[in-house]
């Protein structure tokens, strides 16, 4: 993207952010709170201290990956909202791989576990892509339904077939074992998921920007007929973008297992997938933008606790803030390309 396009995106996003802060400030003021004090606390909770930053980045890590689940297929003109399901499926596959690999050297095993998670998530969304291409099933609806189905399958699996019966108070899967856990990045309280998230966004960016594949995807996303006319393999491109998107969310699931829980359970289903949709749109489906937006959203949710404890704001305040921001940013989409001459971003 040209520098002017970057400047435009930055200007419009800032404007949306400003509008959001004003509207949300009004809501907060209606409760008799001082919006300025609330925003100051929000900043402290998100970025104000080293711990806040650790908190923010921890929460941002899965969002970077689930954002890619929407962002990559979006480049090909698809609207996939199945990150939640792909994450769950990826988490389960990671557990299975970890259990199968018991005794293997940890570095190898962890690599294969993450690979299994990504593969499972990728296939999960690729299935929706296949249904789209060969059966005409709308991918938004099918990935939405697949989310619910993935959760049901997870609940069933951890209630009996792959259940760790030694976990007495929780229905959870077999553990992958302490040796196969990634843990925190040394010297920080942030788990390794962050590094994977950033790396995945960088790889996706490179792939979409600097390869023929990326070029072909952009043509497809711009105009399906044009893509067909120049003889692009539309079916394969649809499958590939869906697979990559799903793989990113599957990797998020793998990291939840390998870096946080050590097992799969209903704790995988906490809305990272849905937050990822928001992140992708705020980033205008740009992989590098996903990093920045995930940090912003991570910061909002990290500071949510402080807002609750200091001001008695309900935990859903962060949801409202995100919702307003989402609407505001989408509204600015209408202005994109108007502020500058030349090709629309």
């Amino acid at each position: 993207m040209a520098l002017r396009a970057w400047a435009e995106t930055a200007a419009l996003t800032s404007a949306a952010l400003l509008v959001t802060l004003v509207v949300f400030g009004g809501l907060v003021a209606a409760r008799g709170l001082d919006p300025v004090a609330v925003y100051a606390t929000l900043y402290v909770g998100a970025f104000g201290t080293w711990f806040s930053l650790e908190d923010t980045l921890t929460q941002a890590a899965p969002l970077m990956l689930t954002a890619l689940a929407t962002a990559i297929p979006a480049r090909a003109g698809l609207l996939v909202i199945g990150g939640e399901g792909a994450l769950v499926v990826g988490g389960v596959a990671t557990v299975l791989a970890g259990v199968l690999l018991a005794g293997a050297p940890p570095a190898v095993a962890i690599g294969l576990m993450c690979g299994a998670g990504a593969l499972a998530g990728g296939l999960w969304i690729a299935a929706a892509g296949a249904l789209r291409h060969w059966r005409g099933v709308n991918e938004t609806i099918s990935t939405l339904l697949l989310n619910y189905i993935a959760v049901a399958v997870l609940n069933w699996l951890v209630s009996s077939p792959i259940r760790d019966f030694d976990q007495v108070l929780k229905a959870a899967s077999w553990p992958v074992g302490e040796a196969f856990m990634l843990g925190d990045i040394p010297g920080t309280g942030i788990h390794w998921g962050l590094a994977f998230g950033v790396a995945a966004c960088l790889v996706a960016w490179g792939l979409l920007r600097a390869t023929t594949f990326g070029f072909a995807v952009d043509i497809l996303g711009g105009n399906l007929r044009a893509a067909q006319m120049v003889g692009l393999p539309v079916g394969r491109l649809v499958l590939a973008t869906c697979f990559l998107g799903g793989a990113a969310a599957g990797l998020a699931g793998a990291l939840e297992v390998a870096a946080v829980h050590g097992f799969a359970s209903a704790s995988l289903v906490v809305g990272y997938g849905y937050a990822g949709i928001l992140a992708a749109f705020l980033a205008r489906q740009h992989p590098l933008g996903c990093i920045a937006v995930a940090v912003l959203l991570g910061g909002i949710s990290a500071s949510g606790g402080l807002l609750q404890r200091r001001f008695g704001l309900p935990d859903a305040a962060t949801l409202v803030l995100q919702g307003i921001l989402f609407v505001a940013v989408l509204a600015t989409h209408t202005l994109h390309g108007r502020l500058r001459a030349g090709r629309a971003a």
Binding site: L27, L79, I81, L131, H133, W134, R135, G136, V137, N138, T140, I141, S142, L144, L145, L146, Y148, I149, V151, A152, V153, N155, W156, S159, Y274, I277, L278, F281, P314, D315, A316, A317, T318, L319, V320, L321, Q322, G323, I324, F326, V327, L330, A331, H333, T334, H336
Partner: protein, 309 residues
């Protein structure tokens, strides 16, 4: 209390019929609302948020005012407001309606949780019901046919909308806006205004559907109240081919599918309940795969719809 007769497996059937009636109403209202919106050429994926906000505002207003019907009205108005927001933002050029829907899903749910905290504990007055099963000697049948007025309203509304879309002037304008915006403009109708009104009406109905959840069945307000009924109803519309009459039938089917797991469990079929509980979702997906095709758009699909292109 006299012991009711043992129904056994017949009880499963009664439970399915009763469940269809009890559970279907939110599906019905949301799907009718979404049908109106989609017939005008817009998809509002945010009706889950509308449903939840409707449920909360209905419960809150009913609790504070003592009148459940006032709650229903306010739920509808809250839904219409979200619809207005959706339509206004979507009327801006180059704004994706599906994305705005997802945003309003988030915002509606967020607002409902944000404003709804004080209403989790209190108990609001409930909507009345009609005893359509009074003729029966069986308490199970009587309970199954204990029907809420909103269900009946929905049952009347479905054929009414079907007729209105087919046979009235505004129905024609709505359909034209949805099938071919240029043609509508050529006829001198405002496509934007038509869609605003259709989306607001859709939001109103979805909000009313939410009020059923909180004020009748299951009849409570908490943050887990909806398990995605508003989202499912959108898939339901596609399956019902944008036909209000079919929406009614499919809503009943979804209601019965929701009741299937619990009904089987209560007669001792206790395996695979997690999978059984996913029956409505699996059913929708299967039906969608079965009824879709790449060669043509879905039969009955409005031509302007992003979701069927």
């Amino acid at each position: 209390m006299t012991p009711p007769p043992d129904l056994g497996w017949a009880g499963v059937l009664v439970a399915l019929v009763g469940g269809a009636i009890r559970v279907s109403t939110p599906y019905l209202f949301v799907s009718l609302g979404e049908t109106l919106t989609e017939r005008s050429g817009r998809v509002n994926l945010g009706l889950e948020g509308t449903l939840v906000l409707g449920a909360m505002s209905a419960y809150g207003v009913a609790y504070l005012s003592g009148s459940p019907w006032l709650g229903v009205l306010v739920a509808g108005l809250a839904g219409a407001l979200l619809g207005l927001l959706h339509a206004s933002v979507c009327n801006l050029p180059r704004v994706n309606d599906i994305a705005v829907g997802i945003a309003l899903f988030l915002l509606g749910t967020g607002l409902a949780f944000y404003l709804g905290k004080p209403f989790i504990e209190p108990r609001a007055p409930r909507l009345p019901s009609l005893a359509l099963g009074a003729w029966s000697g069986s308490p199970q049948v009587r309970a199954a046919l204990e029907v809420n007025a909103l269900f009946l309203a929905g049952a009347v509304l479905a054929p009414l909308l079907w007729w209105a879309l087919r046979g009235t002037r505004w129905g024609l304008i709505l359909r034209t806006a949805g099938d071919n915006a240029d043609a509508a403009r050529a006829l001198g109708h405002s496509v934007g205004l038509t869609r605003v009104l259709a989306t607001m009406a859709g939001g109103f109905l979805a909000g009313v559907g939410g009020s059923f959840l909180s004020l009748y069945y299951p009849g409570t307000w908490n943050e887990g109240l909806s398990s995605g009924q508003g989202l499912m109803a959108i898939a339901l519309v596609i399956f019902a081919r944008w036909n209000p009459l079919a929406c009614f039938g499919v809503s009943l089917l979804f209601g019965a599918a929701t009741a299937l797991g619990p009904a089987l469990q209560s007669v001792g079929i206790t395996a695979y309940y997690d999978l059984l509980n996913a029956a409505p979702y699996g059913l929708t997906l299967a039906l969608l795969i079965w009824s879709s095709s790449t060669r043509h758009a879905l039969v009955g699909a409005p031509g302007e719809l992003t979701i069927s292109k």
